[in-house]
Symmetry: D2
Subunit: 301 residues, 4 copies
């Protein structure tokens, strides 16, 4: 269960007390504010605050392009135009702040996205909880035999059982020892900043994470992608839903041009033209390497 | 006059229609939203949106430091502690978006602050207005004779008159020619992206500028400083007032530790200690260069 | 002429004195170091320093992916793989520093690329030269009638002559007055930080500009693009050549996947599949707007 | 021992083969290139590449300030002036790339410095080595009783022995199980991206880390500070020595104005003035809180 009763009471209180504002309001996002959406076994994502909505994107674009935007008939068309032509700055005019609880190994991937503001729970100051990510049986996958960073078939039977036992046993023992080292009962107690080093990478941490919509889209494109590791992808997929509620027009454009879109190389454009002209192109005549050709064929057949 | 009647009507409408929100609300900032505060002869600053308030800073810090923050008695004490110890990330949890109208030469200084989101009016797409910054007589200063980048005494009499005449005359002629080149009346009309190159650096532009509170403080420390050029300083000074209304506790800490504070070098610390111990330190015995010593004495006597 | 004799002598001296280094060396870039390549009528680009080469990209990737990179047969294949899969961090391991002389209106576009280090000539401290960009007759284009930010046909005859006369005349007069205001001959002389505001946007400035290869590629993709304004595009095109000399493998991958590549939306992928399957898709049946369809057909016929 | 024989042979080979370059060369840094300097029990720092030297800082400043810098008599004076007046951009013109091996909990602090380029060894692609940070007895400190994030007295006797036994035992067991889960001997073998989650935060990782000198100074000021955690401080202290060899003038200015300098608040400036005027100021009459006063007295007595 991701939240204590106390935390839930705080959320309920916050959700009960609307106040008037003159700012842009997104009804879809108001409905999501503060609610903790569970992810994995102990994690969650919740929206703490947001700035702007679809109209704020349009408004910023119209400041930039002035009369130049007037011929675009409506907000949806303008937003799609901006997304298609990589006009990133109007999307930067929206901002969102999440509270996320996540395993440390997921946090380590996530933090690589540098254009964001972060306040993480500090294990130098405070003591971490006894919460560890243990995969569900369906996620206990073997190393892929074709992809150096992928997963293959799900482990079964005795092997799966052994893995789960190791993960659980090591996590519990590491936490028991963490507590034992910290204890000031009859001993001095090790410094928190040292004791934490005993905890494995599936321990949960949490942070406030704030970013603008353009950079959030970049994050989502990489992390909601099918090639992203499952444990971060589930966070990204949930955040996609929240963003769709927040800025539905921008999200739809993102889904079409980024998530569902592909980059085609100069060679790829040439191959498509030749095939459309009736030629039967093969890897050998495409000018592509085997890897490129395989990826190309996956998309276009 | 900085705003057209039409623009003022839009502002009035926006200010008339409050909507409920569950987000953090800063009453001080709500009172400022959308209002155009005049700066210089044609410029303005107005707040378009904001995220967070003093409590949001505290809340983010408590996520980071957990129980470690409980011994600080109150929000003010914690905010001052964070500012004093350069804990910048909690201040990054607040965000603000301004609409600014400003001369191009001011915009060129301003844009050097890279950690911000910007949508500027594009003179490739649209046509700039006939508005130029002409200094008031009291700001028509001579080159400083002691400071390579500063101003000296105010120009007077015939010299002042000549300068004003040149600035005004050149601006008007440049704009006349800008319009003449753009005109499609009996001719093709030069491309806007070319015609704009004829306009001098005192022409007004405008932009949406969005940044977080930590980076805004950094901007304000440099640009509201007495050594900043007057024409950008008046923007920064106005923004200081707006920030004081938005996050009064954070602003007070900023005013004490940053705006009013000074950096003392290792040599300076040693000199202060020696002087407190009764020694009469001179530039020669201070280990400082003449320039350092002059600046040191300006602060500590 | 972009460089004074004195400046050229300095460059010649720098180019004459090689010193031993243990660092990665790019022979192609050594041959370019310090040389001022002319751009526009008074501008130039010259490489001041660089860090890394193609091997440095590969080396960084192998640190990240360890044994996972061993199956890629060679450096070229690995670099293409990294580019194709948007692995940006290895490209960030190369850095380059340019000295650029450019008109202010070009500098204003350029500076929007925030992930770079910049030292610009300061007109608060120093006096700008009498150098202005005046387009060649072939670049004196009319406003496009189909594109709000584009150029149309070249101006001809009397209109072209009038435009050139205005641009030249206003620039010269503005500079005459700039000098007259600054003069301390029989008067105080206006502060440099004020006098500069009289200069039009085609005056030349200069800066040191330093960035990493990933962000440089991003800059080049946008600014060497056919839709970029001519006056910045010529800088980008020249820099493309310098980068090709510096990191030939990375540049080739960039040319194929970014410069020559296209982004195809989810709708576009579907249309290509349908057409490859023999269907005659029209704008009406494509699900695309007219604008999207026009751009799609421009690429794929 | 931080490096394998094979790695040492590679370093020796790289150090043996100097090549000519026209770039700025720092003799002090050339002497450091590639050498692995041991840190902690298995870590190291080594310089992989650098761009620029003290002269590059001066050169960039002279581009910016033009004739305005000529009155400063020499490079040292100009560099000190730039540092004293927070002119950060000339320092950004130098760049350095390190290869660092470090425990994961140190890496997690380090990565919070966002303005840097990073390629970290990926445990999704590759298998981590059996190397864990185990503190020396002298670093096995108790939690501070006065500072929520600090260390107190060193643990002794049985408690110290118990802690070391737990840290070592848990690390070895976690690694045994990591290997057992990965093994494809008679079983499928768990995906590497999952198995890694069993490893504690004292396991070593490594990365290439590249940043500019201004941001490096910011990192060093925070991490070589006495309040930084010992395990990251030893890295920062070593890097300080490398930087002193690279850019001795800039480092000396940094040491004086940043590392050895202090920030004094407006209240602090007032107190110093009053004390210099002979007044005996106490915490009560200072206007400072108890915490501020304690920190103030620590510096100035």
């Amino acid at each position: 269960m991701p939240l204590t009763q106390e935390a839930q009471a705080e959320i309920d209180a916050a959700r009960a007390s609307a106040r008037p504002t003159l700012r842009a309001v997104s009804e879809g996002m108001e409905a999501q504010l503060y609610t903790a959406h569970p992810v994995l076994d102990h994690g969650f994502v919740r929206v703490i605050d947001y700035m702007g909505d679809d109209s704020a994107i349009v408004q910023a674009a119209r400041v930039s392009y002035g009369a130049g935007t007037k011929h675009v008939s409506n907000d949806e068309g303008l937003i799609r135009y901006l997304m298609r032509h990589w006009h990133s700055t109007p999307f930067e005019m929206c901002e969102v702040k999440f509270h996320v609880k996540l395993p440390v190994f997921v946090a380590r991937q996530w933090i690589r996205h540098r254009t964001a503001n972060v306040n993480e729970y500090s294990a130098r100051y405070s003591i971490l909880d006894r919460e560890f990510y243990i995969p569900e049986p369906g996620q206990l996958a073997a190393q892929s035999t074709v992809n150096n960073q992928g997963r293959g078939a799900v482990l079964e039977g005795a092997e799966a059982a052994r893995v789960l036992e190791m993960l659980k046993g090591d996590a519990m023992r590491a936490y028991d020892h963490y507590e034992a080292m910290l204890s000031q009962d009859g001993q001095q107690g090790l410094a928190r900043e040292l004791a934490r080093m005993n905890l494995p990478a599936n321990v949960y941490t949490q942070w406030y994470w704030k970013t603008d919509l353009h950079n959030l889209f970049h994050f989502l494109r990489l992390r909601a992608d099918a090639h992203a590791q499952y444990e971060i992808r589930v966070y990204a997929e949930l955040m996609c839903k929240l963003v769709a509620d927040w800025v539905p027009l921008a999200y739809a454009a993102f889904a079409d041009y980024r998530m569902g879109g592909v980059s085609v190389s100069a060679k790829g454009v040439e191959v498509i033209r030749r095939r459309l002209a009736g030629e039967a192109v093969t890897q050998e005549t495409s000018g592509m390497s085997k890897g490129e050709w395989r990826e190309f064929v996956e998309v276009f057949g």
